[in-house]
Symmetry: none
Subunit: 212 residues, 4 copies
Amino acid sequence: MKTSTFEKLTEDKQIAILDAAAGVFAQKGYFQAGILELCTATGISNGAMYKYFENKQGLYITVARRTMELLQTAANRMAAGQMNIWQRMQRILEEVVPFTTLYRDYFIVYMDLGSPSMDIFAAELSDDFERQSFVFFCRLIEEARLNGEIRPGIATETAAYFLDNHLMLFAFSCVSKHYDRRFHQYFAKDAELLESDQKIRLIMQSFRQLLG
Amino acid sequence: MKTSTFEKLTEDKQIAILDAAAGVFAQKGYFQAGILELCTATGISNGAMYKYFENKQGLYITVARRTMELLQTAANRMAAGQMNIWQRMQRILEEVVPFTTLYRDYFIVYMDLGSPSMDIFAAELSDDFERQSFVFFCRLIEEARLNGEIRPGIATETAAYFLDNHLMLFAFSCVSKHYDRRFHQYFAKDAELLESDQKIRLIMQSFRQLLG
Amino acid sequence: MKTSTFEKLTEDKQIAILDAAAGVFAQKGYFQAGILELCTATGISNGAMYKYFENKQGLYITVARRTMELLQTAANRMAAGQMNIWQRMQRILEEVVPFTTLYRDYFIVYMDLGSPSMDIFAAELSDDFERQSFVFFCRLIEEARLNGEIRPGIATETAAYFLDNHLMLFAFSCVSKHYDRRFHQYFAKDAELLESDQKIRLIMQSFRQLLG
Amino acid sequence: MKTSTFEKLTEDKQIAILDAAAGVFAQKGYFQAGILELCTATGISNGAMYKYFENKQGLYITVARRTMELLQTAANRMAAGQMNIWQRMQRILEEVVPFTTLYRDYFIVYMDLGSPSMDIFAAELSDDFERQSFVFFCRLIEEARLNGEIRPGIATETAAYFLDNHLMLFAFSCVSKHYDRRFHQYFAKDAELLESDQKIRLIMQSFRQLLG
DNA sequence: GATGAATGAGGCTTCATTCAT
DNA sequence: TATGAATGAAGCCTCATTCAT
């Protein structure tokens, strides 16, 4: 039972290190992030870095895993509560904002993971999160359907994929200029900068218009 | 008025070079692609490379610009024709497949451009394509609305953003394992590998269910 | 009078440590052997390593010293007995085999010590062994000469150096592919793998032919 | 037919580089020789180093190959002439001295190659030289036997191996303190420093005493 | 005395870019 | 203009050694 040196640190320290590393990875991307830079940011020495993690890749994977955990946890929290589908989606969208604020760096790492050049990490990273969010949205729709909250004639997957896409791209827009601009193009032609809650209102309208 | 040496090449040669470069960038990503590798792939010498382009970034931007042109051209071609909205969307989706096959490498470059670490190129690259696809989808919906092809009560932007998202993520799924898996999770739980036309059928169902 | 911590260990432990270290040094050579590797092999902690020995070089020298002691001891044992020169040489050669088997690692360390890049250790290591083996062979020859066992007209040093060389290179050949190949080239052209006792027979023939 | 960048240099330059590299390798050994040190010594930049050779190992192997060539050439030159065996051996020994002086560094590299930790290079380096020196000595003995220059009753291999060993160890002694000390112990007990020609005289005496 | 975490200099190698031909 | 050799900064990683516990 060989616990790596990193795992022996207090959880606080571990998190502090991963947070700092996530910051660097978010700002520069995996390939542009230098080991020395990561050392400075995390406040650990070059040598310690390689005691804690096998590799730069090892560090990145650990950060990515924490990313998944955070998403998972957040998703679970968002999923709670017994309201109707509109209230639940509203709440979920509202939770996205603090999440992408608080865990901005991790979320950017998550975005990057979708990019083709990051496929090298696919093997090392489970996609539990994606799987569970699929389950979650399907269930959400099913329940809503039972409660007559959504129009009939809509397949569960159709609706679930729609919600998931919208949520994902909203979250992306909270963190990436590119996706923010895209969102604005559709919903705020006139260059006014949308507040998050305005965005949410618009998204909720979409939901209601297409599903309600 | 400094015409770069590259522009003096025959267009065929220019395209051949950019194609080859796109291949390398697609496979390895911008940062992992080495200049020498790009030289070998494009068949031009190290020295010529720096005569043709200011530097690696210059080459990348040229590739990215061609990417945008190709997308633009394809979009224009897709947009043509005077059918009803379902036929048009069907046709657009069907065009996505050969496009992402023929210009696979360019399309991967396009995907990468959305990733946060590529923001460094944002300034150099116009987002005409995104702007025009916005215009296109809005117009499409407006016309469909006039023809009574879509349900009333749906805001133009809502529907246009919905179509655009779906289209984008479908195209992504043609090229990226990550997005393909995501699509399958929703529409083909039981691991069977979907052919493109099956995917298209499913997407068209979504469109009809939510907009029709 | 500072007795190092190492010397306070039981002799068994000391030997076990040196044996393990010799194993690593033999396999990788001094420069390629890592301290951590040596720690693992010897079963002592990184910290203890530096309590026991001043540094890596200190450990190596201790191993080298034990090497010399072992050679010395073996040589003394081999030298015993009151037979004629041929019997004695035969016996010595026969003892070489178990020695280079049992103390293979130490003997490889000994070989390495002859290599120019190990001259840095020359100052720290007495050459008692070499001196004594010189004395031994000279005496052996002198006695043989008195007993009329060797041809007249051969200077003592000539014969002694000859025996020593042969013995040394035989021992090398027991442990090093390079010297084994060399031996085979001369005495077993036809690629058959010689057993040690065959080698010994051939060497004894040499002795008899040149000295007898 | 891809000629490496190194091979495009003038032969003089190539040799100058290898000479300088051999100097560093001889002084410090393969593992202790640093790339930067090798760059400085050879007068080529870090970058060029890796254009010329795949590796530090690649450079070393090139040096080692030149070593073998030099030995080969020297051996061929030494082998020439139609004298009796004593004159020929005398001449060979006499040639050893300028060779180990002129090509001292290469010869030290050659010595190092026999050490167990250099076995990693065995695969890359042919042992043509060793093979040919075997052939050479056997032939030498055979001819001498025909001319009645050596005692009857001595097997060819016995004598050839004897000559080869003596020659090798003499050459070693020209270059290595360790082997020089060993030689002196046998032939110059009284610490007087032997000149090369004195050594040669002693060796020739050995030859005559044992073979003549 | 023993442990093993921490250190940081230094190792080898890559790579974008420049420059002589 | 075209070539490809040369450059050297910077990258990732290892390792002998020190030091706090």
